[in-house]
Symmetry: C2
């Protein structure tokens, strides 16, 4: 990276941003409130194509072909356009994590070499998901400026869907939103758009205010509405323009969404930018009270980086909406078409579970609400029960367009079941178990029984034709990570039924719908006991899958160059025959269930697989940091942890500029810190234990977690831990 | 089928063709000459969409997306349009196989209930690949008819590419040809079109003649040129219109293609329809002299059906063009986008090899001409040597869009090498071996060495992550069919180098380009000796692949309904875990190398695998007939043979109407008859043996074959065979 950001404890700062760095800063400076995500572009900066300067709304997907959706790029609500030839000659930006405020400062120059400064501050309100506000201050620096500018809503937007195939480059732009109403007057305007083919509506209103008398007029174009301001700005004087934007969509099921948008924009305008920012800051303050991790560390910029991981986890989570999950790049980028993966359940969810359990509950409710789709998917595969899809969006139907992954990476179903189980164990939320969780556990268990293949010769149930977390493994059999989680899934289904005996009415209702028999439960148990878990007794080593040890060794040093993933230089096909891993597989299993394996087993997994792992997935570093910490491998723990914590800010994977931020890595960072280094564990009965394994570079750590409805403050210093129930 | 064709010894007849049967007859009545293929539509019949009434030219492909081509649908050259409201009330058609003539007879009716008959006869000349001719006779039956009709070239054509995914239905039409010149006068016209994006040109000229004085004028539209004929046709009188069409394309590399087309059309017009037909019939007569199989059989319509199989093999082969192969549906349908598969080398090529070796040579030269592409493909997979693609068209680059097949069905490379070896053995064509074949054998052998994975524990070379011929097998390891052919490929490469020692100059040249060392040849031999061939000694049974015996049994009777392939009712994913086969796999291996396996081994393969085979591929029946005949299983041989011989004519797979004819099955039919029942075999030294195994339903068979440049007449009767060198 030519121009790394400065990472302060509560802010990320980019100085002298120019050229290709622009896209990187737009990614890392993204703002959101769970309802909406906005790339961190300079409001006054350039736009060349309709698919740039993206703004996304949680759950707002549209079909781009039969059955396949993309996350819809919605109007640019912060656009500022100058009405005279000028260019930006210098820029810097700052994202404040305590308040969510994004500031861009620029120096601009006219063709006559008149210079003026442009400072924009903006907020996507954490207090009201529908609200956003922008303040622009323009100061003429070396002469009187004949100013003309417009700001409003730019609905000339399109999608450039990104192919699942990481080696393909899509160039076909899809226009998904079409204007219905487009109005403007001197105070603001309204834009109503409709997505096709699903006819979802988007309602946006805005108001504009200025601190000086200017000639104002409404301007309307095709899918464009703005207020135009004109006037002379004498040297040294400041024009301050405030804009307030209200957004509703048909997903909100508001009875009068257009009126609501207009009313909210008007109300925000009365409040003024300062007050809108203050309300949002207060909301952020509450969130930080629940979620902050304070560090006493000698590692440069680590405190800010850790907060950045948490900040993005909070921004990208629609914590009150049970109909959405979190995309692999959150609401901040169209990569993976905005789709939801196992990233949510395995990598991000533990953070929400321990800090904001109501958010974790909503994430799991998304899976419950798509359970019927998962049932239909299982039917489509000729199977029983419920099969979760590798990639999901508006529905639970498969969005993955590469056959081998969508068809074979079946562990997602067990991952969802695992998250349900952990949620119930950590929260003790029996209402969830009774009304939602048990049904997920039972239907997924049924799926597994039909998906496994009984082999009478060895009297076991094989899981054939699968891919595990290590996607370089090829289509293989009996992936140990997957088989272990399938076994858990089956046993947890049995356990859920046992727990439901306490709620006879609910159990009877569920039972009448699902028709679970004692025989079936007994079968779950029997199958669970006959799933092969590949283990070499002599080496005390778990084996990744049936093919792994037949693969050819690869001289990794000779092939791996920097951050370039090997699938770009060696083909996917070739890679599957090398004994290398894309990402944590058994290391992940050990980190997820540390108490289920002996120290030696965990150590042997580390010693064997870690040197073979290429970390060509951003999901890998944090998990390695976590297991390294658990094993007491301080140096490796710190090394991997830094890669995960700074993954986006230091552009470790060299793709932040074109892919956005890596949500799963944010969650993995948090888990490495809290489960790995602080050594927090919560057992099945909800008991909290802290077994600190801080590396010497981190002297102390303070955070709070919620277990079984009770908040605990954890203070770790050296090998001492203090747990205080609040 | 509601309306089966009548199959005469030298003709196929459809009577009272109407409604949905129309598409079926258009498929089976298709005409061609290897250069061009024309669906068998009624010239005066309806056209609703530009992608119907297809006409294809061998090798004329165009890109429909990055790297992916479709076979271009070219102008309808037989179109006849009436210029007054009328409709066809009855129709029949007849395809004469001895002459290649297609006749449609129809009764038409005007709105005033005037009836007239329309008889069209047409020929796609087997004497001159650029020539085609149409004769239309119109007779007014019950009154004077005010006639207006047009005939010319209708270039308003498009492609509706058919998805590789057999469960998907594409609806996106691609226009690939655009008019450049469109001219007409009272005698005929010219149409020049260009394909985009590759800018290939198509030049077509036509001439029109009538037997009566009519008002004639040229008519030109967008991509449409025609001669319009107007006049009164008194009751009982006959209007005879003749049309002559000449076609050239930029693929022909003619210096003045437009002039050539004009000249040829004019020349054909001078000759007249009768003479054009006669010349073509004479060419057909020569072909039948080489390729006919005469049967003395009690099986109804079998003689005609066998000839139909041969007829289509001849029509779809561009026997003088070394830059094309034969699509899975020939030149007769756009299914599989016109692509070339292993179907050519394994199923069709033996027919050409034994009857028209120069045609076989050209088919293999296509593989030689795409050898550089195969090298580049291997590089793309991170491998050495040359890797042939599963589906090819203009280039050798992969056209298959389903990942698992394109990536894993690697046996195609060994199939090509096998065909090269067999070609050299049967023809003794050392020029081919020296200049082309050896290079293919060596480069493919190199590919295999890099594609195999050495396992030091068992000291063998595993072929991991493959699919065999049975496409229901899932991605598996060590498919025995594939491994066997890979072993042959390696050994044949060594053998080719040995043979090349006789041609030191050629060997040195090849050697200087390829740099083959003695060490490498030794490695080929060593690897060949260490490729696992899965065999159960106890059962004397070859095992299909490593997963096969772990799969779940399926009650086929309960699941398979009629011709519906199981992938439509059970998903592909589910099928791969059932112990069932889509098509012949080891049965094919036994049939291909009968002398390499004991009777017991062949029998055991049959007994085990045949009951598990669903024949959800048209490639399966003929091979089963062949092995059944070899085993002396008469009843099963006849049963499977009938399915293969009548596959298209009786629409056995229930898809002829929407997919066209099945080229591989045509070749498999011939092989079952000649290698299976007549028992012809040609050993590596070119010795011809005949070991008749005629079922009682076939009393006698006469045919001729060419081996090592010499033609032999084979006469088989009962268990007696007579071989006469001609």
């Amino acid at each position: 990276m030519s121009n790394r950001p400065k990472i302060l404890p509560w802010a990320v700062v980019g100085d002298n941003i120019q050229g290709p760095d622009q896209a990187f800063y737009e990614s890392i400076l993204a703002q959101g409130n769970g309802y909406m995500g906005v790339r961190g572009f300079d409001p006054a900066g350039p736009k060349e194509n309709g698919h740039e300067r993206s703004v996304f709304l949680a759950g707002f997907f549209e079909y781009i072909k039969a059955g396949i959706t993309d996350m819809v790029n919605t109007p640019d609500l912060f656009a500022v356009r100058f009405g005279f030839p000028c260019k930006r000659v210098w820029a810097s930006a700052r994202l404040d994590m305590d308040t969510g405020l994004l500031t861009w400062e620029g120096i601009w120059e006219t063709e006559d070499r008149l210079q003026f400064s442009v400072t924009s501050r903006r907020v996507v309100s954490m207090a009201n998901p529908h609200a956003a506000a922008l303040e622009v201050e323009i100061t003429s620096l070396n002469g009187d400026l004949e100013l003309a500018l417009e700001t409003g809503l730019d609905g000339d937007v399109a999608n450039l869907p990104i192919s699942d195939d990481q080696l393909a480059q899509n160039t076909t732009v899809h226009r998904l939103l079409f204007p219905v109403t487009c109005a403007a007057d001197r105070d603001g305007g309204l834009l109503i758009m409709e997505s096709r083919p699903s006819e979802q509506s988007l309602y946006q209103a805005y108001r504009v205010k200025a601190n000086r008398p200017m000639a104002l007029e409404g301007v309307v174009g095709d899918a464009y509405t703005a207020v135009r301001l004109r006037g002379t700005l004498p040297k040294g004087e400041v024009l301050r323009v405030e804009k307030f934007i209200a957004t509703y969509s048909s997903r909100d099921e508001h009875r009068e969404p257009a009126a609501a948008a207009r009313d909210l924009a008007a109300q925000l305008a009365v409040q003024g930018f300062g007050e809108v920012l203050e309300e949002s800051s207060a909301a952020w303050n509450r969130l930080w009270g629940q979620c902050d991790v304070e560090l006493d560390s000698e590692l440069e910029e680590l405190q800010g980086a850790v907060r950045y991981n948490i900040f993005q986890l909070l921004q990208n989570n629609a914590s009150h909406d049970p109909r959405v999950s979190i995309g692999a790049r959150g609401l901040m980028h169209g990569r993976y078409k905005g789709n939801y993966f196992w990233d949510t359940e395995i990598f991000m969810l533990p953070f929400y579970l321990c800090t904001r359990p109501e958010a974790a509950r909503n994430l799991l409710l998304y899976r419950y609400h798509t359970l019927d789709d998962a049932r239909e998917s299982a039917r489509g595969f000729g199977l029983k029960g419920a099969r979760y899809s590798w990639m999901c969006s508006r529905t639970g139907f498969e969005q993955c367009e590469t056959w081998d992954t969508g068809c074979c990476e079946v562990h997602i179903t067990a991952d969802v079941a695992h998250a349900v189980q952990r949620y119930v164990e950590v929260t003790g939320d029996e209402d969830f178990l009774v009304n939602y969780g048990a049904e997920i556990l039972l239907e997924t268990a049924r799926y597994w029984v039909s998906r496994l293949t009984y082999d009478p010769r060895g009297d076991h149930y094989n899981l054939l034709f699968v891919k595990g977390p290590d996607e370089y493994c090829g289509v293989t059999n009996n992936n140990t990570y997957t088989n272990f989680l399938v076994r858990e899934n089956l046993l947890n289904a049995v356990g859920a039924v046992r727990a439901l005996q306490e709620y006879p009415e609910a159990w009877e209702k569920l039972q009448s719908r699902l028709g679970v028999s004692q025989d079936e439960l007994a079968l779950f148990g029997e199958v669970a006991g006959k799933i092969p878990i590949l283990y070499d007794e002599g080496r005390e080593l778990f084996i990744q899958d049936e093919n792994f040890e037949r693969l050819e060794p690869l001289d990794i040093e000779a092939h791996k160059e920097g951050a370039v993933p090997l699938y770009r230089t060696i083909s996917y096909d070739r890679l599957q025959r090398y004994r290398v891993l894309k990402q944590a597989d058994l290391v992940l299993l050990m980190a997820m269930f540390p108490e289920r394996f002996s120290y030696e087993q965990k150590r042997n997994v580390w010693e064997y697989y870690e040197p073979l792992t290429l970390h060509d997935s951003s999901l890998s570093f944090g998990t390695h940091a976590q297991l390294a910490a658990m094993l007491g491998y301080e140096e490796q723990a710190v090394d991997y942890f830094a890669k995960s914590a700074f993954l986006d800010l230091h552009n470790i994977m060299d793709n932040v500029h074109k892919e956005g931020i890596h949500m799963a890595a944010l969650g993995a960072t948090w888990q490495a810190l809290v489960f790995g280094m602080a050594g927090l564990s919560v057992d099945q009965a909800g008991s909290v234990r802290v077994n600190p394994r801080l590396p010497k570079e981190i002297r102390a750590m303070r955070l709070s977690v919620v277990v079984r409805g009770r908040r605990y403050r954890l203070a770790v210093e050296g090998d001492q831990a203090q747990v205080t129930a609040l």
